[in-house]
């Protein structure tokens, strides 16, 4: 009994089994399609029901608010697909925010400040990656540690003060809209990053390696994937993008503080999981993740406009997340059940093995 239900995950043969269905069915059944559909439904429903939601300014605020979560979710997707996790991203945002403040205060030209803050993010990511791949520690433990460490450094560097004086050109740029469209300029940066990560993850050998690691690190290693190097690169990318988020955060709010973006890692991870990425690794796609981030953002924005209190908003987001995760494992269970009733397969070495 249990041998048949666990077989689908360990063999990683699930996608192949799906090709016995027509394309439209396969598309309808994916988590990504479901989450995009839910996103569209929520947007339409909110536009109809919630006063003041259906305006250009809503989209502007939403994109400005979600930008750091959107970009940090990109490398996070790849990391979770390998079966790892990076909980330190919000602390890297805080640390790079503080560095941006401290360097600006010291009179460093802002262009150089950006470069230095990103280098700091790369170093943070490299430390995570080193501890996970070379030392061989689990990323959950490592990044819980560095979550505290980087946050501690951030708060320690600025103490109780905040830096609030930044070049007007940059703070304006962080909030600037493209012409009269209401779309923030930073969305261009997001699209560039999205394209880069989409190509990296879905159209390159590196990306296939990422998915292979998530399905089975041993199998990936045997088929020539450098597991350690792949993970190290992903953690470095995560640090760099989180630092970029920190610079944006500082400019948007005009305030560099050690406690900036506290708790943002949970927003990012929640959105990634909602977007259909399996927490066990091996499965996920960026279009689903983008829809997941936007869905949480739209839901929060619509509920705030409807004067729903923030604790209720948290409850609804939490329930949605659990529902999404539960429904995906239920769907997987149904699939495997159908498959096993249709043509029983001989997987595993025998009864009692699992």
């Amino acid at each position: 009994m249990s041998a048949t239900t666990t077989s689908t995950r360990t063999t990683g043969l699930r996608p192949i089994a799906e090709y016995d269905r027509p394309l439209w069915q396969r598309l309808l059944l994916t988590r990504e399609t479901a989450i995009i559909a839910l996103f569209v439904i929520v947007v339409v429903a909110a536009a109809v029901i919630v006063p003041n939601f259906g305006s250009k300014i809503t989209m502007t605020y939403l994109l400005l608010d979600m930008f750091p979560v959107l970009i940090i979710a990109l490398p996070m997707t790849a990391i979770i697909v390998t079966g790892e996790i990076d909980l330190s991203v919000a602390s890297v945002v805080g640390l790079s925010s503080v560095l941006t403040g401290v360097l600006t205060q010291a009179g460093v030209p802002f262009g150089l400040t950006i470069v230095l803050a990103i280098i700091a993010g790369v170093l943070c990511g490299a430390v995570n990656g080193f501890l996970v791949t070379v030392v061989g520690l689990p990323s959950l433990a490592v990044t819980i540690g560095t979550l505290a460490l980087y946050r501690g450094l951030a708060v320690g560097l600025l103490g109780t003060t905040a830096v609030t004086d930044f070049p007007a050109f940059w703070t304006d740029l962080a909030k600037e809209k493209i012409g009269s469209t209401g779309i923030p300029v930073v969305v261009i940066l997001f699209i560039v990053l999205l394209a880069a990560f989409a190509i990296l993850l879905h159209f390159t050998r590196f990306g296939r390696g990422v998915f292979a690691i998530g399905l089975s690190p041993e199998a990936a290693r045997f088929s020539g994937v450098d597991v350690g190097r792949t993970k190290l690169i992903l953690f470095v990318l995560s640090g760099a993008v989180a630092a970029l988020g920190g610079i944006y955060y500082t400019l948007r709010y005009g305030s560099a503080r050690g406690d900036n973006a506290t708790g943002m890692e949970m927003q990012v991870i929640a959105a990634v999981l909602l977007g259909g990425v399996s927490i066990f690794g091996g499965r996920g796609a960026l279009h689903g993740v983008v829809a997941g981030v936007l869905l949480i953002g739209v839901l929060g924005s619509a509920l705030r406009l409807a004067n729903v209190t923030s604790d209720v908003i948290n409850i609804i987001t939490g329930v949605l997340l659990i529902a999404a995760v539960v429904s995906s494992s239920v769907l997987a269970a149904i699939r495997s059940r159908r498959k096993s009733t249709r043509k029983p397969r001989l997987v595993g070495t025998g009864p009692g093995n699992a």
Partner: protein
């Protein structure tokens, strides 16, 4: 086997149905509250005022909002309270943006950061929303008025007076504050340090610790202070969450009656510690009156009775007439000392 198979399938279907129901209920609850609030635009003759405290679920802000609501009812406006669960500036920004989109007449804000919410507030003002800060101010160019609960000098003075009286003007004291970057707390602490240095040479301030306005953190920091400084004579906590946590720790420890606790607290939170002798005296303004005055000031701005210029005067219901001071600041009054003799006269 048969039986097992069927229960499993049924279980899966139930789980799927349950999760679908959860998702649907999540969506429909947004719809319900949306339609419920759709009608509440500009009803009545007074202003629609939205209160945005540092965070929700904080008894201090519950009380100030209660006062605000009472005032709004008096002048026939529309009251609303929104706020983040965590006291962070970025969360406040999204609520400010929301109020701007809703086109409320006035926004009453206690700022989590003096700068970070400025752009959002100014955007609100560009859209004809009057902005009044209360309890914790922003930079002066981001709001129309600041309703000051008591001036910093008065608050620092009353706290130094209380602690030095209680410890006999001699010995080690510590401060248990809120968040490390809380604007008002830091201003008071700086003034307290000055006052201690100038007039109380035998009192030594050994450390300032931060409880982040979290009950458990403040409780733990109190325990740590007493362990680190066995000679400690008193703790000053200029935050209602901190002083209550410190008093709760002391009331069950050996240091009860030995270490003085004072600072800023609310009568309801501190009543039992005053009664059991842990706390002799503490001070505060009346947050209900603060919210009340804030709402009336917002209404006066919306009605065009005042512009926020120095010397403007307005009527604030039961509290009488107030005058706008320099930098658009309106002062509620002097801090009030609560002790065993008068605490039963108050209920907030």
């Amino acid at each position: 086997m048969w039986f097992q198979k069927n229960t499993k399938k049924a279980g899966a279907i139930i789980a799927l149905a349950a999760s679908a129901a959860l998702v649907l209920s999540g969506c429909s609850s947004s719809g319900d509250s949306g339609s419920g609030d759709a009608g509440s635009g500009d009803s009545g003759s007074g202003a629609s005022v939205t209160f945005l405290p540092k965070n929700l679920g904080n008894p201090y802000f519950d009380t100030s909002s209660k006062g605000g609501e009472a005032a709004v009812e008096e002048f026939g406006g529309t009251f609303n309270e929104v706020g983040p669960a965590e006291a962070t500036p970025d969360a406040q920004v999204s609520f400010i943006n929301t109020a701007t989109q809703q086109g409320v007449d006035a926004l009453a804000v206690s700022a989590n950061d003096p700068q970070a919410i400025c752009d959002a507030l100014n955007e609100a003002r560009d859209n004809d929303v009057k902005v009044v800060t209360f309890d914790s101010d922003t930079n002066t160019d981001c709001r129309d008025l600041f309703i000051n609960q008591a001036d910093a000098a008065g608050i620092a003075q009353v706290q130094v007076d209380m602690i030095t009286e209680q410890i006999g003007d001699k010995g080690q004291i510590a401060i248990l504050s809120a968040a490390a970057n809380a604007t008002n707390q830091n201003a008071w602490i700086d003034l307290m340090k000055e006052e201690l240095e100038a007039n109380h040479p035998d009192v030594e301030l050994v450390e300032v610790v931060y409880g982040d306005d979290d009950d458990q953190t403040s409780f733990d920091k109190t325990a740590a202070l007493l362990q680190t400084y066995p000679e400690l004579k008193g703790i000053v906590s200029p935050t209602t969450v901190g002083i209550a946590a410190a008093a709760r720790y002391l009331s069950t420890s050996d240091a009860k009656g030995e270490v003085a606790v004072t600072g800023l607290g609310t009568p309801n939170q501190m009543r039992e510690y005053v009664e059991d002798g842990t706390v002799t005296e503490f001070a505060l303004w009346n947050p209900e009156e603060l919210g009340y005055l804030t709402a009336y000031a917002a209404n006066a701005l919306v009605a065009g009775d005042i512009t926020g210029a120095e010397g403007d005067t307005f009527e604030a219901g039961d509290l009488g007439e107030y005058e706008v001071g320099a930098d658009g600041v309106v002062l509620l009054g002097d801090p009030f000392r609560f002790n065993a003799e008068n605490i039963d006269d108050f209920d907030f």
